[in-house]
């Protein structure tokens, strides 16, 4: 494919060729090769399947397709047999021969690698019956798991670049901006600014040279949908950027990728090269007057570079220090030129909007928040992974339906949303519809979409302190409220978790928080106090217990935790506490309860408390 595509007819021809190539096989085994599944041996599983098929002479009839992240990372490596939709999880290379001989050749199921329903215990053979997937509505994630991310042919076969062709051949720039505006799409990076308006500003800004930038510096700990999107469907992100460039009149584009995501970097480079090969990056695309070049810039590990003005500094080869806005990047961005910045997920929403229309898109979601949002669901919930749901879905649906509820023996305590800039939602707010406005009302934010489920073993004071540790170390130091204010708050939090707090500290925290929020230069400082404010709002009792009673109710803060013991009535002698104990203080005979803890050896690390699935480990209040 070295000759440029010059017309829609030629693009359609490529599409037909791509479809034919996919249809040439009777069956297809997709193997998730995202970062998560690779960590569990996904590449080895793929190689074993290829080898097995070749040995049995089936390579011509059965295809093995390595895919990007399918989202159910916790269960990896994932293998799906198409067209039957048979879903295997936790597959090992040794399973390859059984998968080929039993399922591929005989249509039978390999029982022990089928998913077990967490509630009924029944085996679920088909992907379309798995609650983790059926509870979702996948628009942006539609192709994840269905194409090889390194194949532009696969992408084109599934209508890839049709939206881009439409944007160039059938629409003018105003029409594109108008379509995105009417779709109601808002920035998925956290702040939720209407994307169409941002595009309009950059389009209207004076200047011959304009830029499009994709913020893929996903630094928010606990969020990984952008990594997954670039790994799994790099062309979709690229197509969104190209459409944006066409709309605002940009001639150059940059993708700023977090360096901690090597696979994403590899895939986006490949996508750009392949798109260049078929003439979708370059001069006079589809024989129009539109020309564009795209560059990848790898970050160098600085959380603050997720802030747009800092990110632009970093692309220019400088320290990533934010600057005051206005002027906004739309007026004066990269090298002082008008620049449109959106994040990965935002750009990935653009092709379906252009292809299927704003009206179709706006049917999903709520009055003010349209479309879907991808959340990364992690923590003490049964199903961990990436979840795409319409805006306005309740946290309850995400945690208890898609997520399969809490891990056994655990009680829901709170969900932390939006990472270091966000807040916690307690149990009584599980039914709040998740959109930009409702979350703001309750002291949390949409943020980039990290949802970390916490149970009764989590100390909310300690969690808030954790985020302050993070933001204090990531503050760039340019403005005083953030540089000095956050460490001051952190020190107060440290004092409280160490049992040295006083009641006046709560007021001090609130005052400092308001000051830092209202006077910091950029989003990092302006939102850093949120985890403290939100835990103070919903869990003030827990702060008071630390200060007034000298107790950490969750038993996390070591300075406030007393001796551990095992309740003989509840103990099932599963041996988990003994296995995890670093000092061999917890001992017993498997199958013969109860186990015991030797107080002299115990270092009060709480490992057994966390490990026990039956809640049999208890801890005393420090005397």
């Amino acid at each position: 494919m070295s000759r440029p595509v010059v017309s829609r007819a030629e693009l359609d021809e490529l599409k037909q060729q791509g479809l034919a190539r996919l249809a040439a096989f009777e069956q297809r085994i997709t193997v998730c090769n995202g970062t998560g599944c690779r960590a569990c041996g996904g590449v080895e599983v793929k190689d074993a399947l290829i080898e097995e098929l070749s040995q049995r002479g089936l390579s011509d009839r059965v295809d093995v397709m390595p895919t990007g992240c399918q989202g159910y990372c916790q269960r990896g490596p994932l293998v799906v047999i198409e067209p039957a939709g048979i879903f295997y999880h936790g597959v090992a290379p040794e399973d390859a021969s059984r998968i080929v001989s039993e399922t591929i050749e005989n249509g039978e199921l390999v029982e022990d690698i089928l998913l077990e329903d967490p509630v009924t215990g029944e085996r679920i053979p088909n992907r379309d019956d798995i609650r983790f997937y059926t509870g979702q509505q996948r628009i942006v994630f539609d192709l994840n798991g269905r194409i090889d991310p390194t194949s532009i042919s696969d992408y084109i076969a599934h209508n890839g670049y049709q939206a881009f062709a439409k944007a160039i051949l059938d629409m003018d720039a105003d029409g594109i901006v108008d379509e995105v505006l009417r779709s109601g799409l808002r920035g998925r990076g956290g702040a939720g600014f209407p994307t169409g308006r941002k595009w309009q500003f950059t389009r209207d800004a004076l200047g011959e040279i304009k830029y499009v930038v994709c913020n893929a510096d996903e630094g928010d700990p606990g969020a990984f949908m952008d990594r997954s999107l670039i790994e799994a469907t790099p062309h979709a992100v690229l197509e969104g950027m190209l459409i944006a460039a066409r709309a605002i009149g940009a001639c150059e584009a940059y993708i700023y990728v977090r360096a901690e995501y090597p696979l994403a970097v590899e895939h986006i480079h490949k996508a750009i090269n392949d798109a260049r090969d078929i003439g979708f990056i370059g001069e006079h695309i589809l024989e129009s007057d539109f020309s564009i070049d795209v560059h990848v810039m790898e970050g160098a590990g600085a959380f603050v570079c997720g802030e747009e003005t800092a990110l632009l500094q970093s692309i220019e080869g400088k320290r990533g220090m934010p600057r005051p806005r206005p002027p906004f990047p739309a007026q004066s961005g990269l090298w002082g030129r008008p620049t449109n910045i959106n994040n990965v997920e935002t750009y990935a929403n653009v092709p379906p909007i252009i292809l299927r229309g704003a009206d179709w898109y706006a049917k999903n979601g709520t009055e003010t928040s349209k479309g879907t949002k991808i959340f990364s669901l992690t923590g003490k919930v049964a199903n961990n992974g990436l979840v795409e749901v319409p805006m306005g879905t309740t946290l309850r649906h995400i945690v208890f339906d898609i997520g399969g509820g809490m891990l056994s023996g655990r009680e829901f305590k709170a969900a932390q949303l939006g990472g270091p800039s966000g807040g916690c939602l307690p149990e009584e707010l599980l039914d709040v519809p998740i959109d930009y406005e409702s979350l703001g009302e309750h002291g949390a934010i949409m943020g980039s979409g990290g949802v970390i489920v916490l149970d009764n073993t989590a100390c909310m004071v300690s969690v808030a302190r954790y985020f302050l540790d993070f933001t204090a170390s990531e503050s760039c130091g340019k403005c005083l409220p953030c540089r000095v204010g956050i460490p001051t708050m952190r020190d107060i939090m440290a004092r409280i978790t160490e049992g040295e707090g006083e009641l006046e500290d709560l007021d001090r925290l609130r005052k400092l928080a308001e000051m830092i929020k209202s006077t910091s230069l950029c989003g990092l400082g302006q939102t850093a106090p949120n985890p403290v404010l939100s835990t103070l709002l919903h869990f003030e009792d827990e702060y008071r217990a630390h200060i007034e009673d000298g107790i950490c109710p969750a038993g996390v803060c070591e300075a406030l935790t007393g001796a551990y013991s095992i309740d003989p009535e509840t103990c099932k002698a599963c041996d988990k506490c003994a296995k995890t104990c670093p000092t061999d203080a917890a001992t017993g005979t498997p199958g013969t309860p109860p186990y015991t803890i030797d107080e002299a050896l115990c270092i009060r690390c709480g490992a057994c408390f966390t490990a026990c699935p039956f809640g049999a480990v208890t801890r005393a209040v420090r005397s």
């Binding site: 970062t35 998560g36 690779r38 960590a39 569990c40 159910y72 990372c73 916790q74 990896g76 996903e218 630094g219 928010d220 700990p221 606990g222 969020a223 990984f224 990594r227 977090r258 360096a259 901690e260 995501y261 090597p262 810039m297 790898e298 970050g299 160098a300 590990g301 600085a302 959380f303 970093s314 220019e316 080869g317 400088k318 320290r319 990533g320 990364s376 669901l377 992690t378 923590g379 003490k380 961990n384 992974g385 932390q416 990472g419 990290g450 970390i452 916490l454 989590a458 969690v463 954790y466 985020f467 993070f470 990531e474 760039c476 995890t580 670093p582 690390c605 709480g606 490992a607 966390t610």
Partner: protein, 157 residues
């Protein structure tokens, strides 16, 4: 002091001469080739790109990925992002510290291992997670983490 980088590295960065905007990319090339960024390297980069050495040092010390001292043959990066934190990454860190005798950011005296923490590796569903020599390992316990590091050391002989 050397007046030029080794030729392979020099060739790689040649096209960025007098291009200050390439600073981060060039520093990355230097570190990939030489392991860390020494004061001498900073001076050479300053010359090559035509920017003051103070700005080079400013950038090197701003970004976590740049290192100003030699690093170990093996790099252990433990994730302490939110999901890993909630999954008791601190206990794994304690175990690794105890086992290796170093704290995060440090390298063992024989230059065998460098221990680092990282705010998020983006594999939260497998938390707690670490990366040893660019290979991800998930669902760790203190014991398995120590065993994985030992295996990496043994395999290298």
């Amino acid at each position: 002091m050397q007046d030029q980088f080794p030729s392979e590295l020099q060739n790689k960065i040649e096209r960025h001469a007098e291009r200050p905007e390439s600073l981060i990319h060039v520093l990355r090339c230097v570190q990939d080739a030489l392991g860390f960024i020494s004061p001498e390297s900073e001076a050479l980069v300053a010359n090559h790109l035509g920017v003051p050495i103070s700005r080079i040092h400013g950038v090197v010390t701003f970004y976590h990925l740049f290192h100003t001292s030699p690093r170990g043959e093996h790099i252990v990066r433990l994730c302490t992002g939110t999901a890993c934190h909630v999954g008791s990454a601190d206990r794994i860190l304690k175990a690794l510290q105890l086992h290796l005798g170093i704290t995060p950011g440090e390298t063992t005296e024989d230059l065998a291992v460098t221990l680092e923490t990282v705010a998020c590796l983006g594999a939260c569903a497998l938390s707690p997670v670490m990366v040893v020599d660019n290979i991800y390992h998930g669902l760790l316990t203190p014991d398995t983490a120590v065993a994985i590091v030992d295996r990496a050391l043994e395999e290298a002989g």
